[in-house]
């Protein structure tokens, strides 16, 4: 988990702050915690917490869009709405607000790329896309090294991949 302030160092100080029945969490690295006076809880005021917390993160999303209030064309959800609720309007919002969300996701999660389960229907198409990429690379390499025998073989494989009907017949 990254520090929510400098977004560089790993967070080691974890603060939870409850205001108006809403819980806010902030993760800080040791240096930022010292800078903000968080290492000494008696001097740390709630106002400071507000600046650091989840609300601050949502604010950041709004600012990165250059002041214009971006709206999701599918569901009409705006960045102001996100700032208010911390939730998005529909799945498409992730594309619309992608730029601002990237930084937020980095502070929130272990990584920014999904590595877990994938629906089976998409898994096969994703595998095919990856195989295509790999074969194209192989082809380029074969041509570069003037290994035309290999290039012809790869080309045939690519052809087979492009016409899915041929694939099961071969098996």
């Amino acid at each position: 988990m990254q520090c929510s302030v400098c977004k560089e160092k790993p967070a080691t100080v974890f603060l939870t702050h409850i205001e108006n029945d809403k819980m806010h969490k902030v993760n800080l690295c040791e240096d930022c915690a010292k800078k903000k006076g968080v290492d000494n809880p008696t001097t740390f005021s709630l106002a400071d917490a507000d600046l650091l917390l989840g609300l601050g993160a949502a604010q950041e999303v709004v600012q990165t869009a250059g002041g214009v209030d971006l709206k999701c064309p599918r569901c009409g959800f705006s960045q102001a709405d996100f700032k208010k609720s911390g939730r998005l309007g529909c799945p498409d919002c992730y594309q619309v607000f992608a730029e601002g969300l990237a930084g937020l996701l980095k502070t929130m999660h272990k990584g920014t790329r999904h590595t877990g389960k994938t629906p089976e229907a998409l898994r096969s198409s994703r595998d095919a896309a990856e195989r295509l990429k790999l074969l194209n690379k192989k082809l380029a390499k074969a041509i570069e090294s003037e290994d035309f025998e290999q290039a012809a073989k790869v080309r045939d494989e690519l052809k087979a991949l492009a016409s899915p009907a041929a694939e099961p017949a071969k098996k």
Partner: protein, 362 residues
């Protein structure tokens, strides 16, 4: 369908056992899923929410796991029924507040519970007694794989399953366990444990989840991060951490008995004294004292008492469960009187704690 007739009775529920159930009360794995091209429940208007539910509910009901399930829309459930479901940890407090456009599907064995249109279109959970995170994950994984053939999930290759709140993005998984940790609380070691668990990116919450107190020394431990790791990695990490917490709790109990036996006996003796003799008692006090009695049972101070007696009281003394047994609407004060009557009655044949236990039960 009548919810009260459908639900497993508290007595039956406390007879379910699982590994480490002396400390781990239950395990749960929840997955968040949403439909492609539809607004999330918090943003969708009522007609859209109803349409979404009408797509999801039959799909969920058609799964073999959901044969003879209890399936209902939230508008058809009364406030008391909803509160009972919260006290049984089957639905969240947030879901209990929903009405039109939200629903619930619960299987016979109460091992699968699906909330429709909570924060996400679908929140499916697998529940198991004791420490059984791997079993719960594999069960809900299979459930989800069957469901994805019937529903069009919102999924993106880079971001995974798309969820209403970015904190659930990716795997949409929340792996959690409910732990009874009276030893760590009495030994005043609970705070450093919570802090070190937090540092591993895991959350520690109270009895009813987010933002609630650890009533009865019951804590929920769960993962917070959902993106950038596989489900298995998350499950394995939590399992490892839980085994360590179990060890710390066992050590704390052992050390307390060796170093401060009087403190332990004092707490447990007083808990027994109040529970067995009070004529008015709040739900909160009951839970905290039952927790100490449960510890007493674990330590062999009540040789003739089975832990399920205490666990059952833990369930039936909660406000909605208590109210359910009486037809008239009770005030909080009336509930406190009736609660104490019930507890006294159930403990009438339980003798005082035996402070020279033969040998702690293992």
């Amino acid at each position: 369908m009548d919810l009260y007739e459908f639900l497993i009775t508290p007595a039956e529920a406390t007879r379910l056992h699982g590994p480490h159930d002396r400390i781990v009360m239950s395990s749960r794995v929840r997955l968040a899923r949403n439909l492609k091209g539809a607004a999330f429940p918090g943003w969708a208007k009522k007609p859209e929410r109803i349409k979404i539910m009408e797509t999801i509910r039959p799909a969920v009901e058609s799964l073999p796991e959901m044969k003879d399930a209890f399936s209902e829309v939230m508008d058809n459930l009364g406030a008391l029924e909803k509160q009972i479901l919260v006290e049984r940890h089957l639905i969240s407090r947030e879901h209990a507040a929903k009405s039109s456009g939200s629903g619930l599907v619960l299987n016979r064995e109460e091992t699968f519970c699906v909330m429709i249109n909570e924060e996400d279109h679908l929140r499916m959970q697998a529940l198991r007694p004791g420490l059984q995170l791997r079993e719960a994950w594999s069960a809900i994984d299979k459930f989800d794989s069957a469901l994805e053939k019937k529903l069009d999930y919102a999924f993106n290759n880079d971001l995974g399953y798309l969820t209403a709140c970015p904190t659930n993005l990716g795997t949409g998984i929340r792996v959690s366990a409910m732990l009874h940790l009276p030893g760590l609380v009495l030994a005043e070691q609970i705070n450093p444990i919570i802090q070190s668990v937090n540092k591993l990116g895991l959350a520690v919450r109270g009895l009813y989840g987010e933002g609630t107190e650890a009533l009865g020394n019951v804590f929920q431990v769960s993962n917070q991060m959902t993106l950038g790791e596989t489900e298995t990695t998350i499950v394995e990490r939590l399992d490892k951490v839980l085994l360590q917490i179990i060890e710390h709790e066992e050590n704390a109990r052992q050390t307390l008995l060796e170093k401060k036996p009087k403190v332990v006996f004092n707490h447990i003796g007083r808990a027994y004294g109040i529970l067995a003799n009070a004529h008015s008692i709040s739900s909160k006090e009951t839970m905290n004292l039952l927790s100490l009695m449960r510890l007493g049972v674990d330590l062999g101070l009540f040789p003739e008492v089975n832990r399920s007696l205490v666990d059952e009281l833990f369930i039936v003394t909660q406000p909605a469960h208590l109210q359910k047994q009486f037809s008239d609407k009770l005030t909080a004060e009336e509930r406190d009187l009736l609660r104490s009557d019930m507890v006294r009655d159930r403990l009438k044949n339980v003798s005082r704690p035996n402070v020279k236990p033969p040998k702690p039960e293992n």
